[in-house]
């Protein structure tokens, strides 16, 4: 009943020491469900939030999908939401002193989904990037 947000497996990213890279995480919600965007229209709504919690990369700006304004039977005004497949990009810097070889950058994606009649408890799902640092 509660929708599961699917995170697309990301191919191994080759990253050169001292360089910058923009890496995109793709996620998909099942049809009929929506999640609040990172900038919901109501202060009580829980925003889509990506957090990088560990790994060799230095985290820069995170760019969220622009929410689409959707009207639902339970909302008097349109809500800023994401639906279907969406992407979140993060700018990373590879430290010059990073260890060479395989590594992982770990994070979490928090979302709160609803359909047009009910809402589901906020969920936090793990996100992992496979890296090959050169």
């Amino acid at each position: 009943m509660a929708p599961n947000l699917a995170i697309a497996p990301s191919p191994t990213v080759k990253a050169k020491k001292g360089s910058t890279a923009t890496i995109t995480v793709k996620a998909t919600l099942p049809p009929g469900f929506h999640a609040n965007s990172n900038t919901p229209t109501d202060e009580y709504l829980i925003p889509l939030t990506l957090k990088w919690t560990g790994g060799p990369l230095q985290v820069g700006a995170i760019t969220y999908p622009k929410g689409s304004q959707e009207k639902y039977s339970f909302s008097q005004k349109p809500l800023s939401v994401v639906t279907g497949e969406f992407a979140i990009s993060t700018q990373f810097k590879v430290p010059a002193n990073a260890a060479t070889g395989a590594a992982a950058q770990n994070g979490t994606l928090r979302y709160q989904a609803c359909n047009d009649r009910m809402c589901f408890a906020p969920k936090t799902v793990p996100v992992m990037l496979s890296l090959d640092i050169e």
Binding site: L45, F74, M118, C119, F120, A121, P122
Partner: protein
Amino acid sequence: MWKSHLRYAVIAGVAALLGVVACSPSHPPRPAAKKANNRKPAPNFALKDASGKVVQLADYKGKVVLLDFWATWCGPCKIEIPWFTEFQRKYKDRGFEVLGVSMDDDGWKSVTPFVAEKKINYRIVMGNDETGDQFGGLEALPTTFVIDRSGRIASVHVGLTNKKDFSDAIEELLEDPVQSARSATVGFNRGGANGAQPGHRAEPHS
């Protein structure tokens, strides 16, 4: 001629469709609340309200209770809350109470300003996963139980529900003299699990 036949065919089709809908076994007149002998005891709980006072569901024995599991982040809950505020005002003197159980993770930090902003006139307590499990594992909000004077679940509403479905259930329970008489002998399930067994959703009334 052909047009005339077509017109009759369309009229007959619509009439047949209306007849099917009207007579369909999937659309029988539905009572607002389950029959008394089909109701199961509501699990008791002890949760704190905003003042820190411990509130037990069993404290409400003898009253018809609308038990609303909700959260500040739940849009459909915000549609129903003004109805519940109205019900609290309208039916309070007839032995009725609304009890809201917030499922907000961050507790009173979000709930206190929300309650003030929405002018909620009924008691709110802070729920947790255990409370949700007692009531069958609340997978979605809002989930609302209408409980009779004997502490038994008369109807369950998962998701945004028609206001009339609630008011019909409440009125039916308030007007049932049998329930008033039985309230002295049937109580809440203090053990927790029951008609809404942990891991088993209570049958939604929708």
